[in-house]
Every structure is written in C-alpha cells, then in structure tokens.
Symmetry: C2
Subunit: 370 residues, 2 copies
C-alpha cells in the first residue's frame, strides 16, 4: 500500500489495467457496491435490497425527524423544508430504471481501475416523492441563475479532493426532466443505502444525477464546479480530453441467463429444446425501445417486446429459442425509437463509462435427461 498521505494529497489520475486481472482495491469496491441479480430481470420491479448500489463514500445515517432541505443561493425566496412538509406535498410514484454510468466498465480495455461492473449495475424501483420543478419555481431562481446544484450529506476524497457528493442541472434540464424529490421506494420509506431520508431521482439519466442524502439545493449564477460534475462523469477519449458531460442512459438490454449456473464461472447449463428467453431493454431520456434482437452465435432474431410499465421503465422482451445440443454464445441488443442501437463491442471511454455493448451469455446445451 502506498503512503496514505499520497492517497489523500495527490490528484493522481486513475490507473489503467491492460489485463483482465483486478486489484484488491477493485475487489473491495465490488464487495461493497452491489449489483442486481440478473435472474430477477423477469420482474417489473427489482426486489427491494437488490437494486444496484454505488456508494461513493460512506452511507450517512441521517435522522429523518431532524432532516432539513435548504434552498439557498440565488433564490428570491430561500427556504428550509422538513420531511413532513415535503411528504404533505402532491405525491407521485414513478417506476424508473436506473443504471450506473460505470456499468460495463470491466468490459472496456484498457480498464480504468474503479468499481469493476460487468453487467449488474441496473435496477428498477417505484419511487415516490413530489415533483421538484414546482418547488424550484416557488423558491424563485433570480434572473441570473443558470444552474441548480444538489448536494448530499456524503463526503470523502476522490483523487485528492475532499468534497461532498454534488451534481447540478441547468434550468432548461429541470424544465425538461421529470425530476422527483423522493422519500419512498417500493412503497416503503427510503432505506439508508438508497439516500434516506431524501434524494432526487432524475429519470432517464445515469444514476450519478440522482443525488442521495440530499441536504442542499442551491441556485447558482455560474456553472457548478463540483468534483462529481466537472472532474468525473465525463466522456473522455484521452486523459487530456476536456470531457463531455454524461447525461442520458444509452440504449441497452439484458437477458435472464437461461438454465442453471456453475457457481464459480456463472456459465450456463441448459436442456435442449424450447427455451423461453426473457429479458429487459431500456433507453434514456424517456425514449422507448423499438426493437430487441437475440443473437445465437452469428444469427440474430427479433424478440417479442412488451409495452414498458412506464415512460422511464424498462420493457420486457421474450424469445422462444429452439436450443440444440452444443455450446452457444447468446447475445441481445436493443434499438430505441431514435434509431440508436447497442454496439457489439464496448465503446471506448477513458473511465469506462456508459458501456452499452450487447451482453454475452455462454451456454452449454445438453440432450434432455430422462
């Protein structure tokens, strides 16, 4: 381990790995941050407790009764709201598919050493809260306001910078997005690890925008310079690249791996014959999924697509596969209503963000026994 002073006092860029071997730091993050269980993708709502979690720092354990949300900065009417006051406002429940911007990072080579997601960092929950836009309007951004920032109670270091997790949205984005100020998830109060007692949900965007443990909403006369806004969560072709902000989720799909798994490799073992493949597909910005194809080796077939349970929620798909004995590589790829289609190979990004390459599931099909 390098001297701690180096960790906390130097702004060294994230190392890359050229190999498919992972460091203890990456494994520690993988144990701590939890991915969805692909076998539950048949369900509209990810079972509580299995929605993916990416926690930058420590989960703050906040007192809901004492919690306050402060509106300050360039607001005409700065104010402070309690949880009870927010709960008394018009409530809305929205099923939202959320995905971590780092999902698929382990598939991008060379790999940025960070949380090494493979496919798992996605989930859908029913989020309950009150629409944020009317609250911002009530607080009244002054004429010089360009952005609204959102700050959580979670604090720590990233590449030598001590900061609280924060993000911002422009006034235009706030007008366009159905941002919810959320206090419940799947009909229960928010769990500590999901941002209790208060967070925002920015539907259609990658998860970094949906700030947890929300304490501050600030109106700003200049673009927000928070670390998680300007330093991370940017697409970069090279380390020197100035970066392009990560926003809407890219079109993607996943399947429930068929048959039964091998413990260590998670490879699949399937009885020959008709196999009902099912999975999910989603895109960002409220754009519907238009098509899902299933790949069996090099052949692609159209899957049957069900209506999505909500504008921002994933759609279910099905495909009846006639599985012949042998080894098969299954894949799935979605196309959205804008014509965006999943690539077969990982798109390049220095930090491994937004890898929406088609999932690969290797399957051994055997003759039915008995």
């Amino acid at each position: 381990m390098k001297p701690l002073a180096d960790i906390f006092h130097s702004a060294e860029a994230r190392a890359h790995s050229e190999t498919d071997e992972y460091s203890r730091d990456e494994v520690r993050l993988a144990n701590r941050n939890s991915g969805a269980l692909l076998e539950t993708l048949g369900l509209d709502v990810t079972p509580t407790g299995t929605h993916y979690l990416l926690t930058h720092f420590d989960v703050p354990l906040l007192d809901a009764g004492a919690h306050e949300l402060r509106f300050h900065g360039r607001f005409a009417r700065p104010c402070t709201l309690t949880l009870d006051e927010i709960r008394a406002m018009p409530a809305e429940t929205l099923p939202v598919t959320m995905e971590c911007a780092g999902n698929g990072r382990a598939g991008v080579a060379p790999r940025s050493r960070s949380q090494p997601w493979i496919y798992e960092a996605v989930g859908t929950s029913e989020w309950t809260g009150t629409p944020l836009a009317p609250l911002i309007e009530t607080a009244g951004p002054l004429a010089d306001t360009v952005e609204i920032s959102f700050t959580g109670a979670d604090r720590g270091f990233d590449a030598g910078h001590l900061h609280a997790f924060g993000r911002s949205l422009t006034l235009q984005q706030l007008a366009d997005l159905d941002v919810l100020l959320v206090y419940a998830m799947n009909g229960q109060p928010l769990l500590p690890q999901h941002g209790a007692p208060l967070r925002i949900i920015v539907p259609g965007w990658y998860g970094m925008a949906s700030v947890k443990w929300l304490t501050d909403i600030e109106a700003l006369a200049a673009p927000y310079q928070g670390y998680q806004q300007v330093k991370t969560y940017q697409f970069r072709d090279t380390r020197e690249d100035v970066g392009r902000p990560i926003t809407e989720i890219r079109v993607k799909s996943l399947m429930v791996p068929p048959g039964v798994p091998d413990w260590l490799t998670r490879a699949r073992y399937v009885q020959a014959g008709r196999v009902d493949l099912v999975g999910r597909a989603w895109s960002g910005g409220g754009v519907p999924v238009a098509r899902v194809e299933v790949g069996v080796g090099d052949d692609w077939f159209d899957a049957e697509l069900e209506p999505s349970p909500g504008r921002y929620a994933w759609a279910k798909w099905r495909f009846a596969w006639d599985a012949a004995p042998g080894e098969h590589r299954l894949r799935c790829r979605a196309t959205d209503a804008n014509g965006a289609v999943q690539p077969l190979d990982a798109p390049w990004d220095v930090s491994g963000f937004a890898n929406n390459a088609a999932q690969v599931v290797d399957v051994l099909v055997v003759k039915p026994s008995g």
Copy 2:
C-alpha cells in the same frame, strides 16, 4: 474462457492464486454477492437490503401461496405444510448475527479462487419464524434416524456436480441449536434473495447451515452426502485432507472505519483529537464476547463492551481514541467467554474458510482544520 464442457463435466479443484490480483470470475461473484456496509456497524440491526448475501446459484422466485414444505424420509408421520400453516404456529423473533464461512477469504494466502470476501460478509437481522424442533418431533424421526437434511429450491453446478443446495444437522445438533423455520426478516416477509418464502436460521453457525428457499426436510438413516455438506464447507489443511466440518462461527470483531474514506482505496482520513471508535464483536454457538481490544499500531487498549441484544447477536463496543497526527494502523480483536481470541494473522485453510484475523484499518490523522 475454457470450453464449457470442461466447466460442467470435470471436478477440477478450485485454483489458488499466489498474488493479490483477482480473476474476472472472482470479480463477477463479488459484484453479484453483496457485503455489508461497515459504516452501519453502529446499528443493532443491519439495514434491510444490506445484509450480506452469498447466493450459490440463482435466486429462485417462488410463489409463496403455492409453496409447500415436505417432511419425508424416515419420519413416522411424513407431512406437507403450507406457509399459512407454518405462520399459524407459535412465532418467535430472534436477532441473529450471521457470517459467511468464506468471510475473510481474500486475506488467506494463497487464495482459493471463489467469492473474495475481505471483511463484509456479516450482518444481523431480526428473524421471525417458528421453532423447528417441535415440528421435527411431531413428524417423528424413526429410531434409525441419524440426521435431518434441508434442501432448497436453488440448483446448479459446483466443480462438475449438479445439485440442489442442501445441508444436514444431526438430531443432537437439532436438540442443542435454536433452529428457526423463518418466513420474515426485520418485520417484513422474507425477500426473494434471503430465501422467500421459507428458510431456516441456524443461530451461532456460519451461514451455509441456514438453508434458503427450503422445500424439503428429510429424515435420514445414514449421514447426508449432499455436496455442500461433504465436499465444501470443510476445513482442510491440504487438498487431500479428508476435512473437518465447519460449524460454529469463530470469535470476531469489526469496527466502523473512522473519519471519511478515499473512494478507490477506502483508506480513512481523520481529524486529530478524540475519535469515538465503535464496532461489533460476536462469537458462535451462543458464546458471549468477553473482551474487545483496540490496537493502535502495536499498542492495545480495552474497549468498552455493551450487552448484546440477544444470545446470538453481536455486541457493540466503543473506544475513545486520542488520535495524534500521522499514519496509524488500527485493529480490533475480540475474546469470547471460552477464551478464544482472534488471531492477528489469517488462520490457514485451503478454501480460505473462517478467517477471523483482526481487521486492519489504515488511517491518516491530520491536524484539525479551522
């Protein structure tokens, strides 16, 4: 990737790694299996959804309404019980600290390639169910019965063996242990990933004994030969070793890492002055923890120990540390009422089971700012 046929058709032993680099298989498991968040160790009950999860195969999504538990084999009165019938029986709620037998595996060198837990595979929940022993008695094991086996609905391969997850207990163990037949966790119906609709909890033992998705209870006239009983979950000094069954949890303790973390390394940054360290300590078999010591470098200090919230639940401890600027290595170690004490170095086991070595937390202490 090796040919799938090799994965499913050969009983190759788990590979060892001599390095601190991890394979994609290990990372896939680490993403999928989720560890507790150490910052929540101050709480008696692990927040729902953050209790550690080790899922051997796929989570089965079972229909609670149609679920049946079959008592069969060498019972005088074989029977089948529905969930409603079990819920109508005398109910008991027990706080139980559960730990995965593989917890700490990543600290054992050379490392067995499997789920690479560091410290996280432990949690405490309040489990509600009905005591199992009276049900076994009602079913009436015949005179030749030596063991009772418990089988779940989860199936898959391990080292070439296709099997449903199953474990057994002897009649004597059943008489000695407060085994609960469980349908609720923290006051809510069991979640799918925790064994819904029905599981057992074997308090004081490592987690492998607490079979999830329970479908079958069988009385056996010969020792159970299930894969997860005789092939895995055995202590072995060498691969050729016949093995000694893993049973009760070894004495252990963990601390909430103080201060704030660095994202990538999880190293800690602390302001100098009084730091209130808190953590948990537990042992197996209902044996209370007698002492917890906190190590600061090579110096050890006694922590203050609170009464445990239950015979099988972890105890909270506290230690006021006067933190001086500089780099410090913090550790904690517990001693139980039987005099068992945590080692400072990982005990050897071929599969990396039951590593109860003292936790190490590296901390940079800085002069208070402002």
